[in-house]
């Protein structure tokens, strides 16, 4: 529980941060809120030689309205995400999900970008980002690039970011009218990670579901869209029965692990039950 010694640098621009990462090589690591990285260091599961603290980079903080989407700086804390008026108005699912993360202390330090870059299969925000079809803006030695959420989460604790890339911001498409949403998190204590979580966004028109997005937390190495549920819901009536029927396929194509908190079998069961509940909430049923 005592980290290996490391160097520390705090750049003030993204360019400097990228330079620091290049200079540090494979052993350099970005630190943002430190809420996931510090435990890893203290358990000596990683021993980077230099930490590049991006917390002082002004560009990477805050939420702005950018036309059809919001631009959220990577360093924006969970606390700010859940309380920001623009987020609540245009991407309520993200605000709602951020509010379920850990506890107030951690939400005041942990950041949206850190959470996405960490790519923890039990993380809640990656699931919301996948359901909202966010786009990640990253900068590396070759300049900036955009990565769609569906391509961003690669494997257990692995994102599409290169080791010398900084996640600068997240583009969150605005949800238009007619959408309802819900994040159903199932955990054993209030502070615990999700055993399973379900993010649902549903568009309703005259009692019919016209479009549905359902993404699952902790049902495999990365967050995953429950595409068979989504297609079963498209065009279905917004009724409890139709939602229940569609939700029976929620675990299809998932690869959950068995751990202390649940077996894979139970996770599959939970995915079905929680999908039914999340979609029903999102659809106002």
């Amino acid at each position: 529980m005592i980290p290996v010694a490391f160097d520390y640098t705090k750049p003030s621009t993204v360019d400097e941060a990228v330079q620091a990462l290049i200079a540090g090589g494979e052993d350099a690591k970005v630190i943002s809120g430190g809420q996931s990285l510090m435990p890893v260091l203290r358990l000596r599961m990683a021993a980077p030689s230099v930490l590049v603290d991006v917390g002082g980079i002004a560009e990477m903080n805050g939420v702005s309205d950018d036309g059809d989407h919001l631009l959220i700086g990577s360093n924006t804390t969970h606390h700010d995400v859940m309380n920001n008026a623009l987020v609540k108005q245009h991407a309520g699912l993200l605000a709602m999900t951020a509010a379920t993360v850990a506890d107030p202390q951690i939400r005041h330090r942990g950041t949206l970008g850190g959470s996405l870059a960490h790519a923890d299969p039990a993380g809640d925000l990656p699931t919301a980002a996948l359901a909202l079809e966010c786009v990640m803006v990253a900068q590396g030695p070759k300049g900036r690039r955009e990565i769609a959420a569906k391509d961003f989460f690669v494997d257990y604790f692995t994102s599409a970011l290169e080791s010398d890339e900084v996640l600068v911001a997240i583009k969150v498409p605005k949800m238009g009218d007619g959408w309802g949403y819900h994040y159903e998190k199932f955990n054993r204590t209030a502070q615990a990670w999700a055993t399973v979580g379900v993010a649902a966004a549903v568009k309703r028109q005259n009692g019919t579901i016209t479009e549905a997005r359902v993404a699952l937390t902790n049902m495999g190495p990365s967050p995953i869209r429950a595409s068979s549920v989504e297609s079963a819901l498209a065009g279905a009536s917004a009724s409890a029965d139709a939602i229940a029927a569609a939700s029976t396929s929620a675990a299809d194509g998932t690869r959950p692990t068995s751990d202390l908190h649940a077996t894979a079998e139970f996770r599959e069961h939970l995915a079905r039950v929680l999908t039914k509940r999340a979609v029903a909430q999102a659809a106002g049923v």
Binding site: M1, A5, R188, T189, L270
Partner: protein, 801 residues
């Protein structure tokens, strides 16, 4: 400290805010890790990554090459200094007590076993150098499961003394059948009218989870022979004796200080190997040595608790009258015997019959070695396990008999008119009023309304079912009459000490042998002394936890501090008043018998204008200018009290549990705890103890459980996997107290520190099972995680979804 005492009334019974809190809450604290002495060396411990292995080769010398490293030791380098850690409770004559050295010799026996230490100038350097130590382990098969450990041919955790293959059977403790004979005979005698219910309950292993990790600073003072040891411990006095025995250091040169201690819950009722190591190495190097554990170390090396397989049978007549009970336990000792490891289940032995009358009781316990962290006392120590089993099986019996579980209890409990009552386990319960506590609990709970709602939910097939859990518990506390402990082969007494000094400036110094670590003794003890001395609570300073200032004591555990220590305070205070009376009479020129002692002053009977306050007497005793002949200067008194008997707090706890049958998730809808701890010295502190205890017991029911894999790796090795609930997971508790004074001590007090932890676990599980019984569920594995609940439902329904 704004509470001012109204000296016209007794301070006992007032809900005063704790004196110690302002300091604790403002960070003006002095934890062991805050002790910073110049030139301190830091110790880091290399721990076994394997549950069972031979140490084929070990070389600590590469660590010496690392920066800032001063020394490194394995058992070999430590040699004679590698003291054996004692167990003071050999429960049977033929118990196996294998050697248990501070550093493992030749073999490691659990993950976390201490293998070597590095001593360096900084804690970081010490931690970094651990990986330089060269160890070759030859893995041996590990035995984790108790039943497997007892099978013929199982791997033995310890070799026998003669070097042959040992047995994992640490001891067999049979209690001779008590009452009218054996369980079997009693059942036979009842013939066709007997109903027997048999269950196996698993009382899972838990971790104490104190907030402040263990820590020790051992400092040879140089100028004198003294070795001062600061330790995050519950038992500075016991530690002093044991460290003297283990290290060979003269006891009169050892000073043990328990500074602010951040929780213990039994987990710091221990002599730990790291304490021995710090003292021995400090002595060897002539330097101060400090060790502070990390949370990761705590999980594998602070003792664990509970861990019993309980086979229990209960018999009753068809109309519900209890006939008898038979209990057979397997108790997991872990890999070594710590201070009182073998005795913990025997504390439970007395409590299985609980508040019920029956004529036959049989008990046996087998202690089993496994390749796991040693077990020992955790809050309740043996009594929560017993209470869980009896309160669970009372519900099962009620279901079998088709009776309301509360009616069944009522029918069999000891009536308030029947005290004192000697139970079938041989304990003489001093007092109790189960009727009153239950009546109040039912009132607060709304039992009938909740039963009606339960019916409704059942009828409508609600996905959230409701269950009502009952626990009418008692416990024995106030450890303990020394003779009783002797009869149980416990190698110590159970007395307690207090010295009170009235200082010339009017202040009172109260020196106690109890050693608080969060309980609020400073306030409560002041209240007791204030009620006798008539001195404001704020003028009393309680001194504790330092064998240099408070040389006598038996420390704090087993809900003993008030029940036993309180008696010593009362007696010492009364003795002080008696000495003061003689001095005052001399000053006031009257006979001592002509003095009343009221509101802190001696008043001449019939002439209240002639009076002398205690402070003035103290000053006279200090100047000694005008003392009566034969009276020694200074005003102080002491008392050492050995309790007559235990006392028996009790209560009725009711839990309304909502169970989501689709997901298995449970929610405590309502929790009512009506406790009877006799006279309450400070109801606010009692309330705090009840809340903390409830959370501990509820945590065992719902959240906490140590898990090992089959190789003996601790899976619940961090607080991300070993889930401790927070306020956000719990309801607001509804609490109240009835007050049936104890008759075994003059203050009429009983213990309250463990009550909540003992009572709540079965209340919660009974509530869950009650919700699910119509679905065929008769038990749920603890902790009742969503998956365990869901699986219980699936199993009851034959796997149908």
């Amino acid at each position: 400290m704004t509470e001012t005492m109204d000296v016209t009334g007794s301070a006992i019974g007032r809900p005063l805010r704790r004196k110690e809190d302002a300091r604790l809450l403002h960070g003006q604290t002095n934890w062991t890790d805050n002790i910073q002495l110049a030139g301190t060396l830091h110790m880091a411990v290399l721990r076994s990554p394997m549950a069972h292995a031979k140490i084929a080769h070990i070389d600590v010398s590469p660590a010496l090459e690392r920066p800032h490293v001063v020394a490194a030791f394995s058992a070999k380098e430590l040699g004679e200094l590698n003291g054996a850690v004692p167990c003071v409770w050999p429960v049977t004559d033929d118990i196996q007590m294998p050697p248990f050295h501070a550093l493992a010799v030749d073999k490691v026996r659990h993950v976390g076993d201490c293998v070597a230490v590095v001593i360096a100038n900084t804690k970081y350097a010490a931690a970094d150098a651990l990986d330089a130590i060269d160890v070759d382990y030859e893995p041996l098969p590990a035995v984790i499961d108790m039943e497997a450990a007892l099978k013929q041919g199982s791997v033995a955790v310890h070799d026998a003394a003669d070097g042959s293959l040992g047995t994992n059977r640490c001891y067999d403790f049979p209690l001779k059948p008590t009452g009218d004979g054996s369980f079997e005979a009693a059942v036979k005698a009842a013939g066709d009218d007997a109903v027997v219910v048999k269950r196996r309950f698993i009382n899972q292993r838990i971790i104490a989870g104190f907030m402040e990790p263990r820590a020790v600073v051992a400092s040879p003072m140089g100028m004198s022979n003294e070795m001062t040891v600061w330790s995050a411990t519950q038992i500075p006095h016991v530690l002093r004796v044991l460290l003297a025995l283990v290290t060979g250091l003269p006891e009169n040169t050892l000073r043990i200080v328990a500074p602010d201690v951040g929780g213990g819950f039994g987990g710091k009722l221990q002599l730990y190997r790291e304490e021995v190591l710090a003292v021995q190495i400090a002595r060897h190097l002539g330097r101060t040595v400090k060790w502070v554990e990390t949370r990761s170390e705590d999980m594998v090396s602070s003792h664990h608790g509970r861990d019993q397989i309980q086979d229990i049978q209960i018999a009753a007549t068809k109309d519900g009258k209890l006939i008898g009970m038979k209990v057979d336990l397997l108790a997991n000792m872990g890999a070594y015997l710590q201070i009182i490891t073998p005795g913990i289940p025997l504390l439970g032995m007395f409590m299985f019959p609980a508040i019920y009358k029956m004529d036959a009781y049989e008990f046996s316990c087998t202690g089993v070695f496994t390749n796991t962290t040693p077990t020992d006392a955790i809050r309740g120590a043996g009594r929560p396990e017993a209470t869980y089993a009896i309160e669970r099986i009372m519900d099962e019996l009620a279901a079998e008999l088709g009776m309301d579980p509360l009616k069944l209890r009522e029918m069999n409990w000891i009536k308030n008119t029947e005290f004192p009552y000697t139970t079938v386990a041989g304990l003489a319960y001093d007092s109790g009023n189960y009727e009153a506590a239950t009546e109040r609990a039912l009132e607060l709970f709304g039992y009938d309304e909740l039963r009606a709602e339960q019916e409704q939910r059942r009828a409508s097939g609600d996905p959230v079912q409701l269950g009502l859990g009952i626990s009418t518990f008692t416990e024995m506390c106030g450890l303990a009459p020394s003779r009783t402990l002797g009869a149980l082969k416990y190698v110590a007494g159970g007395w307690e000490h207090c010295t009170i000094r009235a200082l010339p400036t009017g202040k009172i110094e109260l020196i106690t042998g109890t050693s608080p670590h969060g309980q609020g003794h400073e306030t409560a003890w002041s209240q007791i002394a204030s009620s006798i001395l008539g001195v404001p609570v704020d003028d009393i300073e309680v001194v504790h936890g330092d064998t240099g200032r408070a040389p006598y004591g038996m420390d704090t555990y087993g809900s003993r501090s008030l029940a036993v220590g309180g008696q010593a305070i009362k007696k010492a205070a009364e003795r002080l008043v008696e000495k003061a009376r003689i001095i005052a009479a001399h000053q006031l020129e009257c006979s001592p018998d002509d003095l009343d002692f009221i509101q802190g002053e001696f008043r001449v009977k019939g002439d209240p204008a002639k009076a002398q306050p205690l402070a003035a007497v103290a000053f006279e005793a200090f100047t000694a200018h005008n003392l009566p002949d034969g009276v020694e200067p200074t005003l102080q008194a002491e008392a050492t009290v050995d309790p007559n008997d235990f006392s028996y707090p009790h209560g009725t706890h009711l839990a309304a549990m909502e169970v989501d049958v689709e997901t298995g998730k449970v929610k405590i809808r309502k929790y009512v705890a009506v406790d009877d701890c006799g006279v309450q010295v400070n109801p606010l502190i009692v309330e705090g103890q009840v809340h903390g205890g409830l959370v501990c017991g509820i945590a065992q029911a719902l959240y906490e459980g140590v898990e090992y894999d089959s190789d003996g790796n601790l899976l619940t090795a961090s607080l991300a996997d070993y889930l401790i609930p927070s306020a956000a997971d719990l309801p607001s508790f509804i609490t109240d107290r009835t007050e049936t004074p104890s008759t075994t001590n003059p203050l009429g007090t009983k213990g309250i520190g463990e009550a909540g932890a003992i009572a709540s676990t079965p209340a919660i599980i009974n509530g869950i099972v009650d919700a699910l019984r119509p679905m065929g569920v008769t038990d749920v594995k603890m902790p009742a995680t969503p998956e365990n609940v869901w699986r219980a439902i699936q199993a009851a329904q034959g796997g149908a979804q």
